[in-house]
């Protein structure tokens, strides 16, 4: 277990290095530069700017420089927000993004898993069909399309919730629903399938036949075993949350790092693009690692060597 963990962590280093290399190369291949937005800078000014940010050096040298700075925890200076470091810029948005992601994840778990359990217990009834139909709609509707419907319904027609912003509880409702819908659906479908599998197990029949209350059978015998495979979908759930956050933050004008990323792409803010990409890659990698660890910790039948 410990060696497996260490091996996985060590394996992450080359992967992240390649992510950094690919992003760096692609960025510098992209047409236009960070200063092409500001109209007709005098060549001398542009030269000075390039010199200040090290852009006058060969790209491979810039990459090595970036990596050595990165190892010292320095992500560089943002181009589009003069005088501010990438750490400051990311620090200003990450709180909001994490808040949005965590609330959505919590909502997804609290709704998705019970929905799956109920659907499985009422297998092939109207309850099952309705919840699975809702789940497939939640799963297939992109978060920005759902966001549109939510804004039109609750902000435009009913005028009960604000269409944008972040901070007040009321302004959080719509973006959280838009972001949580896909994870809810994924969790509900998976929990249901897993529960249906458990329903047919011998030990469940044994528990029932010895006269245990249905509640005890469901909570003690079924739920624990049914939730095991659900842990594996936490990976896709995290991915859905990360991808969704870009669009949801943009649509609801939420000042998180997802919205910043897209602005940084347009502004060719190389250090900010690098910092955000690496941050997301590390997050996804760490989550996948946690999921694998959790899986081993929870299920004694599995062991990694």
């Amino acid at each position: 277990m410990v060696t497996f963990f260490i091996r996985r962590v060590i394996f992450l280093i080359p992967v992240l290095l390649f992510v950094a290399l690919i992003t760096f190369t692609l960025m510098h291949l992209a047409p236009g530069g960070p200063w092409s937005g500001e109209r007709n800078l005098p060549p001398a000014v542009e030269r000075n700017l390039n010199e200040k940010y090290g852009l006058d050096r060969p790209v491979p040298e810039q990459f090595v420089l970036y990596l050595s700075n990165l190892l010292r925890g320095d992500l560089g200076l943002s181009f589009s927000k003069p005088g501010r470091s990438v750490q400051e810029v990311l620090g200003g948005g990450i709180g909001v993004t994490v808040q949005l992601g965590l609330i959505a994840a919590l909502v997804a778990i609290l709704i998705g898993i019970p929905l799956g359990i109920i659907a499985a217990l009422r297998h092939n009834t109207a309850v099952d069909y309705i919840s699975m139909f809702t789940a497939i709609i939640g799963y297939t509707t992109p978060s920005f399309v759902l966001g549109i419907f939510l804004i039109v319904l609750f902000a435009v027609q009913l005028r009960v919730l604000p269409p944008s912003g972040w901070g007040r509880p009321a302004s959080m409702v719509l973006p959280v629903i838009a972001l949580a819908a896909a994870p809810i659906a994924i969790l509900a479908r998976y929990t249901r399938a897993s529960m249906l599998d458990i329903l047919q197990q011998d030990y469940v029949r044994t528990a029932r036949s010895k006269g245990l209350a249905e509640q005890v059978v469901v909570l003690r015998h079924m739920l624990r075993n049914a939730l095991l495979p659900v842990i594996t979908v936490l990976g896709p759930v995290t991915a859905a949350l990360v991808t969704g956050s870009f669009v949801v933050e943009r649509m609801f004008r939420i000042p998180g790092i997802g919205r910043m990323y897209i602005d940084a792409i347009f502004a060719r803010d190389y250090p900010l693009i690098m910092g955000t990409t690496l941050l997301y890659a590390v997050t996804v990698a760490v989550f996948n690692l946690i999921v694998d660890m959790l899986y081993v910790a929870v299920d004694p039948r599995i062991s990694y060597r």
Partner: protein
Amino acid sequence: MAEATLTPTAQLEQQRPARGLWSDAWRRLRQNKAAVVGAAVVLLLVLVAIFADVLAPYPYAQQHIQDTFEPIGSPAYLLGTDQLGRDLLSRLIYGTRISLGVAFLAQAITLAIGIPLGLLAGAGSRTVDNLIMRVTDVIYAFPDLLFVIIIMAVLGRNIVFVPLAIGIVNWTTIARLVRSQVLSLRERDFVTAARALGVPGRRIMLNHMLPNALTPIIVAVTLGVPQFIMLESTLSFIGIGAPPPMPSWGLMINDGFNSIFSYPHMVVLPGLAIALTMLSFAFLGDGLRDALDPRER
């Protein structure tokens, strides 16, 4: 008396006529109502995409400056017009072509890269396998939307690059799938038999293994299409996919977003188009998976 002479297997065959994998699957698919509805809508969308020129009342970019923001049901424009007086129905119809075209093309690119590399990884030497799998690991570590956005920034805002960017990022799923199929098929008796008969490795791969790996690939393709439709519309909504005046559904939502309070139909219509298309593909994909592989229910 004739019955008594039949062998037990022949008797079984009499009760249940011999059917191939495909006709069995087809029969199961037809019994699945959601899948049939999904397939019908998908077929309809494909037809709309092909015959967009005939079906659309106006060219998609034609502006009617005197008729901007017409509501749904106005006499000349069935579904109204946008901020430039362009007919929304026509734009939705042409948008089908963009959505499906990009998704199918992207899928073709993922197959063109993923199948050969998957075969190579599964049947090739250990070094080749390791190399290809490490590449998929790196691509897997990127959140896919992030990667597609960066590639689009390099290539530029042009609709023909969208399927390319999506394909470059998403071939890993197919490659991993094909690889795992090859690894499990490699140990099967019919492959051993073919090898014993002296069939060359390339032919074993293409004639014996690939057809057997086809079922999961078909399912992955059907479930991949809606995912790519979503990616295209997301990119266009963000403003780095289809350039104006192209009637991409995502771009139409972006167009209407600023006037969402006054003219919500401008965003609701393309939103419904995206949701309906993705739902149909998901129904069809789920149905195909159940039909082709009844064990996975």
